[in-house]
């Protein structure tokens, strides 16, 4: 559990501090660096230990995209200069910790900035789904009767639909060309619409049990309105919702990746994990430039962190049913 929390906190930290951690601007295209491999940070050379340094890359063969380290001119990394924690002095060329993509952009910097978009839209989507789900589930559970039946029918209906297709069709039915911030809000909204039934089902179950308790009966007898009653009953669902947050994160993160991969998500020059995968999922380049798959590895780490964290918090069954709805 500690490992999962540390993993997630670490990734969130990387995303949060992307502007100071990224050695390069995410959209900057470096000339002569297309598909440049990751640079290694060296700590020792022939004369023994030194401050961390790299060998600048030199384009050996433009057609074969071969690069070679210029071992004659080691460059020491500079720390905390130019608004970045770690960078190279200008003469050394760009610092490419995870290599460069087809346009010569720094994959590591794009991964960090991409995390802001991908994790951000996921977080907002999860929040929306929980609020919507708690409202609907709380209402259904505290009112009961016909309202409950209808609301839960709608929830069940949406639950059976495969999430990826639901988001795809909803997104496909909306305007295709939008700005990044519009896409951000729109996708978060779609995720909330697609994911609220998961929260609503659980909240309704908790609230429906809770409303038979004495305090709820007393509140009703005292003339509390359904909304006031729901306000009293909802806190009981806190435990369920805290697990639900974790279960929805992987699902929505994968949804962002899928939708952006299909070209219906963030506009292409913008770095999100999905748009980066779209550029990486080229089978011919995969063996030559596997570092382009870094966002897939990042996705894996987030989902793994969630699994490790949930493992101890929820019974295995709940966890696995949660997994069943992913992507």
């Amino acid at each position: 559990m500690a490992a999962g929390a540390a993993l997630l906190a670490g990734i969130a930290g990387l995303a949060l501090f992307a502007p100071v951690l990224a050695p390069n601007p995410p959209d900057k295209q470096f000339a002569d660096r297309a598909y440049a491999p990751p640079m290694r940070i060296h700590m020792r050379d022939a004369s023994g230990l030194r401050m961390p340094f790299v060998y600048p890359q030199m384009l050996q063969d433009r057609l074969a995209r071969e690069y070679r380290d210029d071992t004659t001119a080691p460059r020491a990394l500079t720390w905390f200069s130019g608004g970045s924690v770690m960078s190279l002095p200008d003469a050394g060329g760009p610092l490419l910790l995870m290599g460069a993509d087809a346009l010569g952009r720094d994959v590591f910097s794009r991964l960090l900035y991409g995390a802001r978009l991908s994790l951000g839209v996921t977080a907002l989507g999860v929040l929306g789904a929980l609020v919507l789900g708690a409202l609907v589930g709380g209402l259904a559970g505290s009112v009961g009767g016909g309202t409950e039946t209808v609301l839960m029918l709608i929830a069940d209906f949406l639950l059976v639909l495969p999430g990826a297709y639901l988001v795809l069709v909803l997104r496909g039915a909306l305007p295709a060309v939008l700005s990044t911030s519009e896409v951000f809000l729109l996708m978060a909204g779609l995720f909330a619409v697609a994911a609220w039934p998961h929260a609503a089902r659980g909240v309704r179950a908790v609230v429906a049990t809770e409303r038979r308790r004495d305090y709820a009966v007393a509140a009703r007898a005292a003339g509390a309105s359904p909304f006031r009653l729901a306000r009293h009953l909802l806190p009981a669902a806190r435990g369920f919702l805290s697990v639900e947050v974790l279960l929805l994160i992987p699902a929505l993160l994968v949804a962002e990746a899928t939708v952006s991969y299909l070209g219906l998500g963030f506009p292409v020059p913008k770095a999100s994990w999905g748009t980066m995968l779209q550029e990486a999922a080229n089978v011919r380049m995969m063996a030559e430039a596997p570092w382009l798959l870094a966002p897939a590895a990042a996705l894996f780490l987030v989902v793994l962190g969630v699994q490790l964290l949930v493992w101890t918090r929820a019974p295995a069954t709940e966890l696995l049913i949660g997994r069943g709805r992913i992507s």
Binding site: L159, Q307, T317, L320, G324
Partner: protein
């Protein structure tokens, strides 16, 4: 017993039919209301307004939404799903080919997942020492959603040549869908089996002298089937959901690609047709899971 089972199946069939109709009509209405229509390409190719108007009337886009929907529904009754504007072919032909491809992929993946996951789960559930090796692998695989798994497998295939990545090759798409599900089934089966083994009736059976192998593989395995069947619906949903990314990345000619082409081309009838067969596949899968549960557990039949 057979009568209440029949009533149960009948009720579920009616619900499934309603589900299929609502899903496809919903997709139809959504795309019809969406900005832009199938004549966008004509417009871009500088067709005359008269030509565009002609195409719109041929596609029924000049009719009011409700009339259009009614016409489509009338066709549906006679199993006429209309004509695809993107492919210029009857929707029913297209959809039949592609749904078959997706169903084959999903069914094969399910088979592989069950064949690996369940026996492994019984083993890990009954032998903690064995579980120490398998569980970490399972947790890692559970954390590999199909979109990650397919990329990892493609990379592995390209780097080692162990698997073919030619279009139409089954290895990569099947494994990408099956492995996360297999891991999930393994974890769940393991937990369910461990629970079953500590239940009073199995302790009594052990005390009676039932041999350990029979105790695990017959008595406990049967008891643990129910919680595993409980997530069958979720598994079917995740197979379908995951197949979208997997189909796009491995060029699998399935329903996911067709739906994507239909949506981006604003191909109204094709979107509705895809939604129709997709919903059918899901309904059939869920129905099969429900029936299996009703057969295993009489309590389910009582309408619970």
């Amino acid at each position: 017993m057979t009568r209440d089972l029949a009533a149960f199946v009948g009720g579920r069939l009616a619900a499934a039919a309603l589900f299929v109709v609502v899903v496809s009509a919903g997709a139809f209405v959504l795309v019809r209301l969406a900005p832009g229509d199938a004549t966008a390409e004509l417009f871009l190719s500088r067709a005359s307004p008269a030509e565009i108007a002609d195409a719109r009337s041929r596609l029924g886009l000049d009719r009011p939404l409700l009339v259009h929907l009614r016409d489509w529904a009338t066709g549906l009754v006679t199993l006429d799903l209309g004509q695809s504007s993107v492919f210029g072919r009857p929707v029913s032909d297209l959809v039949r080919e592609r749904a078959g491809a997706t169903a084959r992929l999903a069914a094969l993946a399910l088979l592989v997942a069950v064949a690996i996951g369940l026996p492994l789960g019984v083993l890990t559930g009954s032998r903690p020492r064995f579980a120490a090796f398998v569980a970490p692998v399972s947790v890692a695989l559970v954390a590999c959603p199909p979109i990650v798994a397919v990329l990892a497998l493609l990379l592995m295939a390209v780097a080692t040549g162990w698997m073919s990545i030619a279009p139409g090759s089954y290895a990569v798409p099947t494994l990408a869908l099956a492995l996360p599900v297999a891991a999930m089934l393994e974890r769940l089966q393991s937990q369910a089996l461990a629970d079953a083994l500590s239940s009073p009736d199995l302790i009594a059976a052990a005390a009676r002298g039932v041999p350990p192998a029979r105790l695990v593989w017959v008595h406990a395995a049967r008891q643990s089937l129910l919680p595993v069947l409980g997530i069958a619906g979720a598994v079917i949903g995740s197979l379908f959901s995951g197949s979208l990314a997997v189909e796009m990345m491995t060029s699998w000619p399935g329903l996911g690609r067709l739906m994507f082409d239909a949506l981006t081309g604003r191909d109204l009838f094709l979107v509705a047709g895809c939604a129709l067969v997709g919903a059918m596949l899901i309904a059939v899968g869920n129905l099969a899971a429900d029936i299996a549960r009703a057969v295993v557990d009489p309590r389910v039949r009582g309408g619970a």
